[in-house]
C-alpha cells in the first residue's frame, strides 16, 4: 500500500461537496390534456388532500415526523397519515434529517423513482441548509437538500415541532390549490386567520 502522504491542510475537501450528479432540475410544468383543464381544480384539491409521504427519516427530525404522524398531532386530519415505504406509491418526500455525501445519490434516486406529481418538504435545518453541521470543517454533510432535488417547502427548526410539519403541509396545500385548506372540514381548529 502506498504510504499515506502527509496532507498540507487538515481537510482540504471543499466547504460543501456538491453531490456527484448535478442537481435534478424539475422539467417544465407538466400540462394536462386540454379538455381536463377544467377539472384541474378538482384534481388539485384531491391531490392536496391525499399527500402520501415517503417514510424517509434520516436522523433526529424523523422522530418528530413520527410524532406528527401519531395520535396527538395527527397528520391524518389533513390526509397525510399514510406513510408509504416505496417511492412508487408516495407523492410527497419529507427529507427529515441530515443528508450526507454518501446519502446524496440515494436521495436523488428515490426522488426520480417517485411518480409525478411529486413534492418535497425539507424538514429541519439540516435539510434546509446543513444545519449545525454546515460550517468550516464540513467534509461530509450536503448543505441543504435543495442542492440535490427541487424542494417545495422548507421547515426550519432543529428539530421543528410537529406543528411545524403540519404548517408545512398547509403551505404545500396552498401551493397546490391556492387555498390554505382545500376542504372546509380541515379548517384549523381555533380559527387562525387566513394568511
Amino acid at each position: 500500500m502506498d504510504t499515506p502522504g502527509h496532507r498540507q491542510k487538515g481537510c482540504p475537501a471543499p466547504r460543501c461537496p456538491v453531490a456527484p450528479p448535478n442537481c435534478v432540475q424539475p422539467d417544465d410544468t407538466p400540462t394536462l390534456w386540454y379538455p381536463l383543464r377544467l377539472a384541474e381544480p378538482i384534481l388539485d384539491a384531491c391531490r392536496a388532500n391525499s399527500l402520501w409521504p415517503l417514510t424517509f427519516g434520516l436522523s433526529c427530525c424523523a422522530i418528530e415526523m413520527m410524532s406528527a404522524g401519531m395520535a396527538r398531532f395527527d397528520m391524518a386530519r389533513y390526509g397525510a397519515e399514510v406513510f408509504r415505504p416505496s417511492p412508487r406509491q408516495a407523492d410527497l418526500m419529507i427529507v427529515a434529517g441530515t443528508v450526507n455525501k454518501k446519502m446524496a445519490p440515494v436521495v436523488q434516486r428515490l426522488y426520480e423513482q417517485m411518480a409525478d406529481p411529486k413534492w418535497v418538504i425539507a424538514l429541519g435545518n439540516c435539510a434546509v441548509s446543513g444545519g449545525p453541521f454546515a460550517g468550516e470543517g464540513n467534509y461530509a454533510v450536503i448543505e441543504g437538500v435543495d442542492r440535490l432535488i427541487p424542494v417545495d417547502v422548507y421547515v426550519t427548526g432543529c428539530p421543528p415541532r410537529p406543528e411545524g410539519l403540519l404548517e408545512a403541509i398547509f403551505t404545500l396545500q396552498e401551493k397546490i390549490t391556492g387555498r390554505r385548506h382545500p376542504l372546509p372540514q380541515n379548517r384549523h381548529p381555533h380559527k387562525v386567520q387566513k394568511r
Partner: protein
C-alpha cells in the same frame, strides 16, 4: 479483580499507572498482542479503539472494561511510523469496525484485518482522512500527557 490484571499487564512489560478505577497502560507495539491476550483472559470487553494524531505519528488508544467491575484499562501504543499497525480483531471481533473507522479517519493500515474497507466515508472520500491535524496544531505526546507524572509503579487502590 483489577489487581490481577494489573500484575499480568506489568509482567507483560506495560508501563502501568492506576488512578481510581482507570488504569492507563503504555504499551510498545511488540507486546501489544500479549497485553491484549491478558485483557481478554481477564474477561474484558472492548469499549473502543481510536487514534490520536501527534507529531510522533499516531497513538493508538484502546479501552477495555469489565462488565462486573468499574475497572477500565486504557491501552495506548504508538503505531509504526509508516502508519501501519497490528490489528486486534482476531482477539476482539468487536474492534473490527473501530479499526476500519480509524483507517477512514487517519489512514492507518491494520495488518491481518479481515476486511479493511472504508466504514463511514463514501467511496470517493476513502482517502480523505479528515481527523488528521493541521501540522500547525500538532502536539507532541509529552504535551498531551498529564503534567504531574505520578510514580508508575504505585499500587492501584
Amino acid at each position: 479483580m483489577p489487581d490481577t490484571t494489573l500484575m499480568a499487564l506489568k509482567a507483560a512489560g506495560a508501563r502501568v499507572r492506576a488512578e481510581g478505577s482507570l488504569i492507563e497502560a503504555g504499551v510498545d507495539t511488540a507486546i501489544l498482542k500479549r497485553c491484549a491476550l491478558v485483557l481478554r483472559d481477564a474477561g474484558m470487553y472492548p469499549v473502543f479503539m481510536t487514534a490520536v494524531h501527534t507529531e510522533a505519528g499516531f497513538m493508538l488508544c484502546y479501552q477495555f472494561a469489565l462488565w462486573d467491575s468499574p475497572c477500565r484499562v486504557l491501552v495506548s501504543t504508538p503505531a509504526k511510523n509508516d502508519g501501519r499497525a497490528v490489528s486486534l480483531t482476531p482477539l476482539f471481533p468487536g474492534l473490527q469496525w473501530h479499526e476500519r473507522e480509524a483507517r477512514d479517519m487517519f489512514g492507518i493500515i491494520f495488518e491481518n484485518h479481515p476486511d479493511l474497507r472504508p466504514l463511514l466515508l463514501c467511496d470517493e472520500d476513502r482517502d480523505l482522512q479528515p481527523l488528521r491535524k493541521d501540522p500547525a496544531r500538532l502536539k507532541t505526546p509529552e504535551q498531551l500527557t498529564r503534567a504531574e507524572h505520578t510514580d508508575p509503579d504505585e499500587q492501584a487502590p
